[in-house]
Symmetry: D2
Subunit: 346 residues, 4 copies
């Protein structure tokens, strides 16, 4: 882990109040120097601003924000780095096997049920989605549920079953890990480990998952800003694991007529500011099956590197998320012309 | 204006507290009857709910919500009707002329500058977007600006200029009306009148604009719910004007890394619940030019009936919204394969 | 209207991309000069930032944001001024009459029904709230309603009635104006004119109301930022009307268990950054009567200059907002110890 | 753990589309019966709704929502129970020791630094806040930080130090646990264990912390709904631990002029619907020291059972959260008349 650098960078602008006295300005300048940083004041007719250069790791802006006469602090740029295209300009490719590569010119389609429920169920779905062109198989074995009274998943048995069925049909699997207790079983059976939206800032979990070195699918928290999402990704890269794929899955807003709002603004922005691949999850964003396909197409058109979608053979009997699962028939409808909508930026 | 009907409909469910007494339940039932409505109680082991049927116009749910023993009120369905597919199942087509029809199988592309600035500017842009395949010309003459110190538009002269140039190039025009004072000039010169996001609930303005009978482009308020948007549309249909096109232009959320978030969830939902055409505005949703094209493609893929996009010949000299305007070159890039991304639901 | 000044002020910081070339930096510097502004570059090891000083009215940041090599733009401070304590440090007092002064050490209590419904109703309520210590009478005559099928108010007759009853009991009145058509009747009968939340950015309306010169109560839009609220207030001060009282009435968030969330953070912040008085409306924030009193107390404790609260003699028969109105009994309960909770900052 | 009951309760309303056929209605009724639930249809002129009674644990509403002809599903009431006043009407008191009881008529004041930094720092602060009347000492030893490059806390040594100093001054301590790895040290040294906002839905962590049986302080996630907050609390009660205190700490909204918005609407609502004590954290809600005191007073006035506030002897040298910490002087100012603002509902 490296947390320091000795670069001299412009890191902060201190905006002084119009009524700040000369003593206040001098005091702020002194405190900046005390932090081993370089102050560069600009004098306007009625207001002074002080640019600050130096080593960002020496900055604790909260200390300066409260000095007398300081009106506001503007931070020059976000202190994440490994995830940024300024750090690495070429796009990262995350390779699961020779056929499944995130970030390349072909979108990766991940399909499967919300939860693994039985061998028959998962085999039927896996067979179906494979025939329709899916690249990977998804399925929850450990479920983080809002209510303690909801179905909590099959646990390790579910994960093993998913892997067994994935192998049978040549589909690498991805499943969510919710506890550091389960790291062993994920290391053994998962091809890709999902960090769910609720755990995006569970730094204990994401750090330990990252250390396994396996490909990670990091979902954006439903109320996480782009910056927080980038920092969570930074935690993973910082552990030396570069096999990271991001996932936009809808954000929480005032609008409640659908479950969440798929945030393609941020998705498209992240394609620009980060070199990491990013896919979209239209199922959780929509919360209802009849909006999944339009959102999946929209995600591809906006440049997503893939789609993760819930598909169930009998969604009206599903133990969870039945409302938002595609049937195999509607998944077939989507797959028919999915590539047409995809925009690849190159 | 018609506000009544005499239908017997299920309109409300009253959920009683578990600890409500028999007297409380009887009192609620009596009050429901006093409103000329029909109570239908259901008795559970520990809780009673009372379904209410009748004529919705007789309901004032706020009065019942505060009766002793009432835990909550669930309204059965939204009391808008004319905008709903339950009221009219076939999709409405809004025809501007023989070539420009919203809601049909070809998406309508509206392009032009944020504001009309000069004849030369608007002619250059109109000529450019016409050649690239745009169907209509946009341009603000009356600007609602957050700050009183920002450019407020050219006013009536700007609108006349827009019309003159639109006619020259065979492009019908759309422009925003912000005051009832200007109804006359809009009636004379506009082919389609825009109600802006900030005025979506300015009922005085939208009612009077509706009465002109001209095609209306109603933008969703940046924090309006789908229900509020539908009700604003209902005000217009209720005035007898059916030439209404809706526009999703991005919503306000916690996320501030882009100006707004284009809400394709709601756009796709509205296609289902309403028969009205709906287009998307990727420029205001994005707030920065480099995200406009991905969002425009996403809108088309999600089933939008068109796009309204800001294009400027010299965006780095624009008097407003320069940050989010496409150049003619980037608009050309978008138009090259725009139809490919469009999904038409039929 | 004054929109210019010739001050040299620090107005913007341009953050260049780490990979920006010398040509890009030089070009940005040239463009800044072309705008008659002064560039002040700071050179870090890997990144350059360019401070910009000058006359803010010459700035169109959108033009600069899109220049090649520009990563982001930071604006130094908000260009509103008349509302700011930097412009006027002492608190403004808004005097309705000798007894009712907003911004002074005694909170102003405004009470009354959502809508004026009848003479008997408004007299009963006015008499009641007067006896309990209210300072002003509220009541809607022109109602902006989400649905065209809801009660729209008694109109001009309602306003006259409110004034007549207010005079009878020595209570100045405040009522909402929703259309420029009604300016005459408000000029004649209202002691204070309310701009409602939905019209906070209806600049046509607020400008014309401001010009009447009467005291204005400006409600924050339910999704307006503090900056947008300050700019709307700036429109009013800019017309030469300083009799302006602000009102925080709850904001729209993801949380839907109550109607809105009373934003005391922003209320307390506005007390610091602006010299204008600000009151809170716990009724619309709560949306349910049983939360009104705790929120009213909280508003006073956080330093509000007053409270505007809905009180109805028979809320379970009210034509609107019955759910959130206090009864006269519960208003009495609130008034009993309201002063105890008030914090006056001096 | 008990997840079942055999009560017959009204649990759901199925609203059919106006155009639903008789076959669709019959099919829905049959599916409801297949789930071992009782359908109760109501027939309007144009629409049918079907009430559903039965054992909630048999319901999977997602399966029914997608049946043909179903327009929407209304759930009758939230399936949490142990946290609810319907389950237990009297308020719960959480007793830390004979002097410190949450939920009683005296608000509990918890004060201390964001992070434990050194023995000298924590002793100075503990001594100061004790003398000023604080009841408990807070201090972070394990910090969940957005950025991997921020100060991560002193770890177990910090917790021991906090306990040692708390004992010296007779102040019980509360500190945040972020990993199941640390359960042992918290069991040994903490008087009360905090679950932070980012971990509110880290069900693995909260379940295991609950099992320790110690008092728990559960912070609301910054974007958690009241329902999600109640369910997280339900997880803890469901483990048999009733020593639970809730904490409202500000929610994330569109408004960015302060860090978060203190949600006193939800706080006051939770006092009504739940029997658990709830306190407020004005420091994290405000994000800046000069708004902490107004928000603390507001919380007490709205009926909070206590306050948790960051206090630092030298906030401009603090390693974290310096911006929002009160000095000992400003904490003294707050404590001087804090009790005056408190409303106790009895």
């Amino acid at each position: 882990m490296h947390t320091n650098n000795s670069l001299i960078e412009p890191i902060m602008i201190i905006v002084m109040d119009k009524n700040a006295t000369k003593e206040m300005v001098d005091h702020v300048i002194q405190i900046v120097k005390d932090h081993d940083l370089i102050p560069e004041p600009s004098y306007g007719t009625t207001r002074i601003v002080i640019g600050v250069l130096g080593d960002r790791s020496k900055l604790r802006e909260g200390n300066i924000a409260r000095l007398p006469g300081v009106k506001e602090i503007l931070l020059v740029s976000k202190p994440y780095k490994r995830v940024s295209r300024e750090f690495q300009s070429e796009s990262t490719l995350v390779k699961i096997n020779d056929d499944v590569i995130f970030g390349d010119n072909k979108p990766v389609i991940i399909a499967g049920p919300c939860g693994v429920e039985s061998k028959e169920q998962i085999r039927t779905i896996a067979k179906g989605v494979k025939e329709l062109g899916a690249d990977m198989l998804r399925g929850g074995a450990f479920k983080p549920r809002t209510s303690p009274y909801s179905f909590q998943g099959m646990g390790a048995d579910g994960l093993k079953l998913l892997k067994e069925v994935g192998d049978e049909f040549g589909l690498p699997i991805v499943s969510e890990c919710v506890s550091t207790e389960d790291l062993g079983v994920f290391e053994k059976y998962a091809d890709m480990i999902q960090i769910g939206a609720r755990n995006m800032q569970n730094f204990d979990l994401i750090t330990k998952v990252a250390r396994l070195g396996k490909p990670v699918l990091l979902k954006r928290g439903m109320s996480a800003t782009v910056d927080e999402f980038m920092f969570a990704a930074e935690y993973i890269l910082n552990e030396g694991n570069k096999n990271l794929v991001l996932c936009e899955r809808g954000i929480r807003t005032f609008e409640q007529s659908t479950r969440n709002i798929l945030d393609l603004n941020s998705m498209a922005l992240i394609k620009q500011v980060s070199h990491l691949p990013i896919i979209v999850d239209p199922s959780h964003a929509a919360g209802r099956y009849d909006l999944v396909t339009p959102l999946a197409r929209a995600g591809l058109a906006a440049g997503a590197d893939g789609i993760i979608v819930e598909v169930h053979n009998k969604p009206d009997e599903a133990l969870s998320d039945g409302k938002q699962s595609l049937t195999l028939e509607s998944f077939a409808e989507f797959m028919k012309d999915a590539p047409k909508y995809h925009h690849y930026h190159g």
